[in-house]
Subunit: 263 residues, 4 copies
Amino acid sequence: MSDPETHWQTAITEIRPNEIRLRGYRIDELMGRVTFAQAIYLALTGALPSPEVGRLLDAILVSSIDHGATPPSTLAARAAASTGAPLNAAVAAGVLSINRHHGGAIEDCMGLLRRVIEIAGGAGGALDQAADQVVAEARAAGRRLPGFGHRLHTADPRTARLFALADEAGVAGRGVGSVRAVAQALAAQSGRALPVNVDGAIAAILLDLGIAPGLANAFFIMARVPGLVAQAYEEQTRERPMRAIDPTGAAYDGPAPRALEDA
Amino acid sequence: MSDPETHWQTAITEIRPNEIRLRGYRIDELMGRVTFAQAIYLALTGALPSPEVGRLLDAILVSSIDHGATPPSTLAARAAASTGAPLNAAVAAGVLSINRHHGGAIEDCMGLLRRVIEIAGGAGGALDQAADQVVAEARAAGRRLPGFGHRLHTADPRTARLFALADEAGVAGRGVGSVRAVAQALAAQSGRALPVNVDGAIAAILLDLGIAPGLANAFFIMARVPGLVAQAYEEQTRERPMRAIDPTGAAYDGPAPRALEDA
Amino acid sequence: MSDPETHWQTAITEIRPNEIRLRGYRIDELMGRVTFAQAIYLALTGALPSPEVGRLLDAILVSSIDHGATPPSTLAARAAASTGAPLNAAVAAGVLSINRHHGGAIEDCMGLLRRVIEIAGGAGGALDQAADQVVAEARAAGRRLPGFGHRLHTADPRTARLFALADEAGVAGRGVGSVRAVAQALAAQSGRALPVNVDGAIAAILLDLGIAPGLANAFFIMARVPGLVAQAYEEQTRERPMRAIDPTGAAYDGPAPRALEDA
Amino acid sequence: MSDPETHWQTAITEIRPNEIRLRGYRIDELMGRVTFAQAIYLALTGALPSPEVGRLLDAILVSSIDHGATPPSTLAARAAASTGAPLNAAVAAGVLSINRHHGGAIEDCMGLLRRVIEIAGGAGGALDQAADQVVAEARAAGRRLPGFGHRLHTADPRTARLFALADEAGVAGRGVGSVRAVAQALAAQSGRALPVNVDGAIAAILLDLGIAPGLANAFFIMARVPGLVAQAYEEQTRERPMRAIDPTGAAYDGPAPRALEDA
């Protein structure tokens, strides 16, 4: 290839005969020594995270792996699968249904938190006051705050767990601080609890991990793809083709509640 | 919902207020205690794998996370991204390019290995003879055997690593045995080495893990989605829109070779 | 570009400065002189159809432009749109839901009719007998015949219209003959009418037009894309985001029945 | 279905046994009497256009049906097809590559023209002055104007044809007037011709037809889908799987230049 017009550069993967390097590391050396979650972070940022951060990333990805039959991404994947689509097409239909209103709260909340942090100023600036201001502005404008409240979960169990793991990993910083400050400001100004949901928690932690907001939606996508596979595969193997799928009509008939200790 | 026509069942996820259970386990209990790879296996099969099997699954997913600029899935994702597509659309375009001829060798090889195992009969049956027969048939019919040989890698470094990890995890069984038997039969009959490639190694291990062949392609998809994200994001952030992308025109300019010990 | 590896040929469109030719014809010369339907046939086959055949193609495309809220392709497109997807992503999700069980009957029926014609032999061979044989075989094997019967329409109004237009255009040949023969054989053998549906009628006409069966699904896709656009756009502009879409829950509230004379 | 939550309305298609109505018209009555282009307009807007407007719409759709091997949407569709994707998946990959920088100029140009018309005020307001102002602003801000100029075509042959047909159909109004005014202002201020390209011409005409800008991209998608089918089908039937596709490496080897009179 000597045409200068079509020369280009990439900093992700280097391929030579019998040698594949991801961001400089041999892929066969990574295999068995880092988790998929660590490799994902490496692929996206160029840096290999510590095992503790890896564990936090694993938890983020696990937190969003599936949310049952009602999300539109599940519905789109099942609708495609019910017509005879192969798994990759069903997954693609699901991924195309992850947008502003479904998964997008992570990126929107990152923007909100960045604004709070910016107003608060340097590392020592008070987040509480900045959060108060941002919440007051949003309330005056009648805007909902992304990352807070949930249609179904009044206390999203995934949020507390993510915060605990972020603390353990020593990752919780201005991101987690600002999301907590906004939750407090919201409660104080509105008089009712509107707790941080899983999107808000992920947003805060991704900020503290230095992830670009433009990649936020990708974390939700990567987390949800296995769930979409499971949903589409269940549709393929359990349902008759071309049924009318009412997303609110599903009843759970899987394994009974069990604890990890039983495993 | 009382319309019987729209009632249906799902065994994947159960949602109640403040309680999300994946295959019976509380998702917040899984977070921080199992890896994403383990959760993927749980979502797809209903069973939680041991940490050792989890580590093997992590390695499978890491092995296929990216393969540089030339695969068609990369090209499709970058082509979409170069027009201004959001990440989910670029990823979907990439996922739609994972089919029979790209990723599909895993499922095809699983079919081949199942046939070898079937011919060999019960657990004690000799795989060598069965492999000889299947290879001879394929050669007579002029069929290529999926999972063997590679355009670029004469000794795929990912294969040896996967086999070693499968041995460590105590997973290697008739699947790994049969793929090795086919490689030997191929070498003996053709007189030249056509070693097991990464697809063949994954096929063998998925068989030994009891994964349905219909899910084989999904493993490749789940593994590659982060790579597609990285490729599409690099296109978005590094290249001008609407360039003509020659997949063979890329040069690597990322981090220099480095070893895990440096990390 | 001098790399022989990346040289390739295309017979569709030739681009020169200020000159765009589709299959040899200047696109600006085609504009205003042939319909979109004629240009579609030209793009796919390389031959420009007569205005009469063009009118038949227009009718085929109009026949399948939309089928309301219940088809899975509509559901997938609306599910994507309800999350904030741009129109192209919503349309793509819909297109991914056009497969074997939805639209695919056209290709399957073409295969069936080709078999009838083959059995009947040369132009003079009796289609009735061949149809009898093929229907008897299918009934013995418990196979449904693609292109016959409809869940809702006992006499699909689109079928009669397509046959009439095919007759007018002088197109109806062995394809239309064979689909009619199969319908008669079906009725005779089963004792109940299972008339040709719109897929069967399109299959017969595409055969008579010399379209390759591998393009059959594409005709359905091209016809349905505007319907998917209309459905996704209505979702975007009329519904709140992230609603649970029950495909059987829609009531029509558009223009009252009207006749073309009123236009 | 009696659950009020899942009740919803649609104004597009009404289905009853043996009766399918698009925006109030029986589909079998439309077939053979209106073109696909007219039916598309009906599906999207609810109104049936005159045959003259239908002919203009046909010309718009024909103008954008294909643009050869280099557009990213072609590349994505071919990349998918080269891996063994079915046509619908290849088309979807192509559709996902129609965005802001590819096709999107139509919508952007509609916004620009609306601004010119708004500044000009009522029907009698001078478009020239408004165009001068808008062009001067864009030049001061260093913004390119969408719908003007072309990488390859210095005088896009599709533009003149579209304008002539719009004049014939009596459609050309403030939209066509404003795009011409902007072209003149551009030439006057920059000292070099940057003529209206096909996107600009379509934008102007869609405005004059009363099409919502939110549907602009859809017109490009509907027009291009048959081209994507042709490209993907050629890839399937003419090329070996998994080739490296260099979009600039294609040579045309189809029918020699021919005129419509020869048809």
